[in-house]
Amino acid sequence: MAIVAKSSKFGKYGRPTLAWIVGLLFFFPIFWMVLTSFKTDADAVKPEHLIWFTPTLENYLNMTENYDYWRFAKNSVITAVMATLFTLFVGIPAAYAMAFNPSRATKDVLMWMLSTKMLPAAAVLYPMTFLTKSVGLFDTKFLIVMVLSLINLPIVIWMLFTYFKEIPKDIIEAGKMDGVNTWGEIKEILIPLAWGGIASTALLCFIFCWNEAYWTVRLTTTDAATLSKLIEGNRAPEGLFFGRLSAVSAAAVGPIVVLGWFCQKQLVQGLTFGAVK
């Protein structure tokens, strides 16, 4: 008789059940927020309307009026897109150099880049605030794009590096022999071959930029304020405006949830550094 691995009962039933429980636990706050967003502000705090209530679209219809939603949304889109593009613009050549022309220092450089993610952001909050204010960059989109790019560069370079590593060196060398210069190698060979990986990386970077709150909240007031700032700035006193706040919050996370839903596969691949095929 051939020896085969037995599938355990846990693997068959237990694991999916556990996954569902964890999934629902994470999803519940979002579900609750969306639910509340369809209640009037008055209904939102009444226990008898916890589940049963008359749904209304009022909160969404008045979003622009109440919160100037679209102005913040526009800033979020602009800063996240620009920061993602800039990050790739710097990250692709950097990862390319390390993947195909490694030196003895390459490993250390990679570790050093990752280590910058371990620096507590709060430690540089005051220097950042004073510095940006004194050079007049405070509350500019340029500053937010730079900050978002810099905080995401390490992870983006790491991801791209692991994707590029999978491209056989011979193919790049064949390109060199065929008369391609460095820029040509990147444009003609590297980008087309690593397209999937680059797209996953870009997507993840975009999501991180969109979700970023620490710096966008603290380094903006009005001109460059993103959706994070909008929500943070409108924390209502306990019980006040729960309905309309839920609606605008839902509208802030909505685009990213939808994007994430459609790109699940790429995201999982990105987050596992391409280990899942």
Binding site: I171, E173, A174, K176, V180, I189
Partner: protein
């Protein structure tokens, strides 16, 4: 034109020296084969000529110009890799035309050249396929096509046939040979297969641990190996090397005799031994004989219809004009 000169070239990876100072000249139009055991530095040497590997010291001249610092893309050499290294995202047509497109040639001219190359390599039916949909032999031909369209100063091959099965290998060997006849372009070919080296080369460079042991035509190497290493490496099956009193009779430390230069008899001869394994190839029989002093087992090539049994006693007589003599340093004595 493709005359390549290496002067005092060395290569170290970190602290390990892979190529000690080496000089070599490859004449225009020559088919040169680098051969040697695994890890001896053949690929490293080829890659240095290609420009894919920096020199630690020394310099390289291509057609009289110093090319040491010239990047690979500007050396005008074409390379065929063991792994084929085709661009997986491009069709065969795009792959072959790629170097021409990079040279900013007109599209109509590229199309013409790609068609000509594809015709000569029997690739016309596959032009619109991606490399993943081709067999190993077809991929290899695409890689060769990509090299020939450029009309390079020289072709560099790094074990291009070692991923192919035996029958295909023989076919491709002939095709590459014919290509050389037709183009008369310099070719440098790396292999560890001495049969490939013998059949294809005008000039063989035998390497061991980064050192050139001998340079010469296939027959020179066969008839006059400069030392014991070359003697043992060139020729199949390997030359028998005999030490001790038998060698002393010829005034040498070691004598060598090829399996095909030994006569076998069941009745009488110079040396006596017992048959170990006999390999019947049909055309020939290779007999491994035990018990000859100074060389155990000794390999002998006999006629295909020779029937000997395991344990049978045989007598061997070397053809005296074909005995190679080597001194204590392993160098040839004339």
């Amino acid at each position: 034109m493709g005359r390549i000169v290496l002067k005092n070239v060395t290569k170290s990876f970190g602290n390990t020296q892979v190529i000690p100072p080496l000089d070599l000249t490859i004449e225009d139009g020559e088919f040169t084969v680098f051969v040697g055991p695994s890890g001896c530095g053949k690929s490293t040497l080829l890659r240095m000529i290609a420009g894919l590997e920096d020199l630690t010291s020394g310099y390289i001249e291509i057609d009289g110009d110093d090319a040491t610092q010239v990047p690979p893309s500007e050396r005008g050499l074409a390379m065929v890799f063991q792994s084929y290294a085709l661009y997986p995202h491009m069709t065969v047509r795009k792959n072959i035309g790629f170097p021409l497109r990079m040279a900013k040639m007109d599209q109509s001219e590229i199309d013409k050249k790609v068609e000509t190359a594809a015709k000569s390599l029997n690739l016309m039916d596959y032009l619109d396929r991606k490399p993943a949909d081709l067999s190993g032999g077809q991929r290899q031909r695409v890689a060769i096509g990509r090299a020939i369209v450029r009309e390079p100063a020289a072709f560099l091959f790094d074990e291009p046939l070692s991923n192919l099965d035996a029958a295909l290998r023989v076919g491709m060997r002939l095709e590459i040979g014919e290509l050389h006849e037709r183009l008369q372009t310099t070719m440098i070919y790396v292999t560890h297969d001495q049969v490939e080296a013998m059949t294809m080369a005008n000039k063989i460079v035998v390497l061991q641990a980064g050192v050139i042991e001998q340079v010469g035509s296939p027959l020179e190497l066969y008839h006059k190996p400069r030392n014991k290493f070359v003697a043992g490496f060139i020729g199949s099956p390997k030359m028998n090397l005999i030490e001790g009193s038998e060698a002393a009779k010829h005034g040498a430390q070691t004598i060598g005799i090829r399996p095909e230069h030994i006569d076998v008899s069941t009745t009488d001869g110079m040396w006596e031994g017992k048959v170990g394994v006999a390999e019947h190839l049909g055309s020939d029989t290779f007999i491994h004989v035990h018990g000859v002093e100074g060389c155990d087992p000794m390999t002998v090539r006999a006629a295909g219809d020779m029937s000997v049994k395991n344990g049978e006693t045989v007598f061997l007589t070397p053809q005296s004009q074909n005995i190679h003599k080597f001194d204590a340093e392993g160098l040839r004595i004339e």
